[in-house]
């Protein structure tokens, strides 16, 4: 296989899962929500994209629609779920994802059931080679990633993001300060689901198909590994985690071709994933990157002002 194409492919995957990882970071890292059904919103985005592109809508509309519908579902799920404790929310959303997968699996008329349907790529240039196609995909995915990252970063440093962190730390204290936890949590779930929906659309068009087997609960937990490894409540950490997990994933696949191991590498990979996550939780619960401190204009001014006074004195 073309090695350059392999690298491009890896870059696209890092981008797509970077978006999902950012969205989970928003929900878990900042708002403290245990979304164990991330894959459900990824699925909604992917199937929306697939179905809308079949009736001939342009790709950007399909992507936006995927994000919107996913956000609506995020809101619907959040309405009852916000009253639930963290563990109940996790189980409820996990079950929601499984129900969705069951529906797309059994309803053949909707999207081909078990066999899925093919999806045309978003931007297809006439006569382009695979490499060019991959480059176009990289551009598209990283454009979306850039937007999501900017939104997440702005949010993290805004008063809004600080209120979210306050709710995560102590719901009751935040509520006494007039911050409605239900509103903030619902919005976090909505925004997170929208991002996951866009990523799902990108995924569907990149792989040229959607099938129920692509949306196993496994995806959710891979994304959890990314966020926990990189560092919750740090958007750079979410991206770093996505990159590390994807590279690790590819790395073990390459190792499989060159070494003979006593144990099947695809099993070994998940065993190592599991061990890694337990290790991180035990010894580095804050992930590789610490929670990012808040950066605002006022803080910067205050810091610079103090320094300039110090300079004058010396």
């Amino acid at each position: 296989m073309d090695p350059l194409l392999y690298v491009f492919d890896l870059i696209v995957f890092i981008g797509i899962f970077g978006i999902v990882s950012l969205s989970l970071n928003l929900e878990f890292g900042f708002a403290g929500l245990a979304n164990f059904g991330k894959v459900a919103f990824f699925l909604i985005g992917a199937y929306t994209y697939a179905l809308l592109s079949q009736i001939g809508l342009p790709f950007y509309l399909c992507l936006i629609a995927g994000g919107l519908i996913s956000a609506i579902f995020g809101l619907l799920v959040s309405l009852p779920a916000l009253r639930l404790r963290a563990d109940y929310l996790a189980i409820a959303v996990l079950a929601f994802g499984e129900i969705l997968r069951l529906i797309v699996k059994s309803e053949d008329w909707l999207a081909g059931g078990d066999w899925g349907i093919t999806v045309s790529s978003a931007i297809s240039l006439a006569g382009a080679s695979h490499r060019v196609d991959a480059l176009v995909n990289i551009a598209l995915v990283y454009f979306c990633l850039f937007i999501c990252f900017t939104v997440a970063q702005l949010l993290a440093n805004s008063p809004y993001g600080r209120a979210m962190r306050a709710i995560r730390e102590d719901e009751i204290a935040a509520e006494t300060l007039g911050k409605s936890r239900a509103k903030f949590k619902a919005q976090a779930l909505m925004l997170g689901s929208a991002m996951a929906g866009v990523a799902g659309g990108l995924y569907a068009q990149y792989l040229h198909c959607v099938l129920p087997g692509m949306f196993m609960p496994m995806i959710t937990f891979t994304v959890w590994i990314m966020v926990l490894l990189g560092g919750p409540a740090n958007n750079w950490g979410a991206l770093l985690g996505a990159a590390l997990v994807e590279i690790f994933d590819r790395g073990t696949n390459i190792v499989k071709d060159y070494f003979v191991l006593p144990i099947d590498p695809s099993n070994l990979q998940y065993i190592l994933f599991g061990a890694l996550i337990i290790f991180v939780l035990l010894y580095r619960p804050h992930g590789l990157l610490k929670e990012s401190s808040i950066k605002t204009k006022a803080l910067r001014l205050a810091y610079n002002g103090r320094r300039s006074i110090k300079n004058k004195r010396s």
Partner: protein, 294 residues
Amino acid sequence: MVNWAQVIFNSGVTGSLYLIGAVGLTLTYGLSKFPNFAHAEFMTLGAYIGYFVAEQLGLGLPLALLVAFLIAGLVGVLCYRGIFQPLAKRGASIIHLMVASIALGFILRHSIGAAWTWKPLYFTATWSAFDAGPLRITGLWLWLIFAALVLSLAMHFLLMNTKIGKAIRASSSNPELALASGINVDRVIWITWFIGAGLAAVAGIFRGADTQIWPMTGWDIILPIFAVAILGGIGNFYGAIAAAFIIGLAENIGVVGLIALGLSTTYRTGIAFLILIITLIVRPQGLAMLFRRA
């Protein structure tokens, strides 16, 4: 024409399986205060150990059940001591504990996959099917119902009449007070994890014998089992009995309904998920208020 007697009987079979699987989950959930998703893999592990003992060594089902109970119980305690207890001592949040249990599930599931491969295995023992009136019954199902009955009586005796059972109930409802009264709460938790994981293994064997054994055997039924634990009220054994049969009934009547509506019967598993979600939203404490807390 629907054979309602068969539907009721099948509900009893399904309910028995879910009960055996859910008792351990609900007790450990109540004591350790987090849902252990690796419970699914305790079931899978049990199914494979059972297969190994009953088929590869040819020692029969009763011994397979016993060996699987003991080994899986031991694995459960080791997992608790090795992973969850240190995490809890470091002040990990409930979300971290849940993620850790999923990670443990990965490790167990894929270790099993590495040891036995992912090819489905089948118990070769043929369970004689016979007709009793309008019912079609297999020997395995009778075993399963018998096991659930024995389990219910044994657990009732354990929880109500023994010192350890009372300690489990005390630690579950108020850990601090139990500790202050001189109960070794850590030991109580280990014993509960041993029993819980062991019973999961028993459920895994029955599930494996009824369908097939593969590394996802446990994960296939983990959500219905969560539904039983939550509908019954977490940590509530008597609630779990009622919930197991309610969900068994709902699934089997649901299948009849699905066929009548012309929908795919793959939605069968969805019925339990739906009950799970509705319970969580409408009545997260489950049926607990209806039963004595245990």
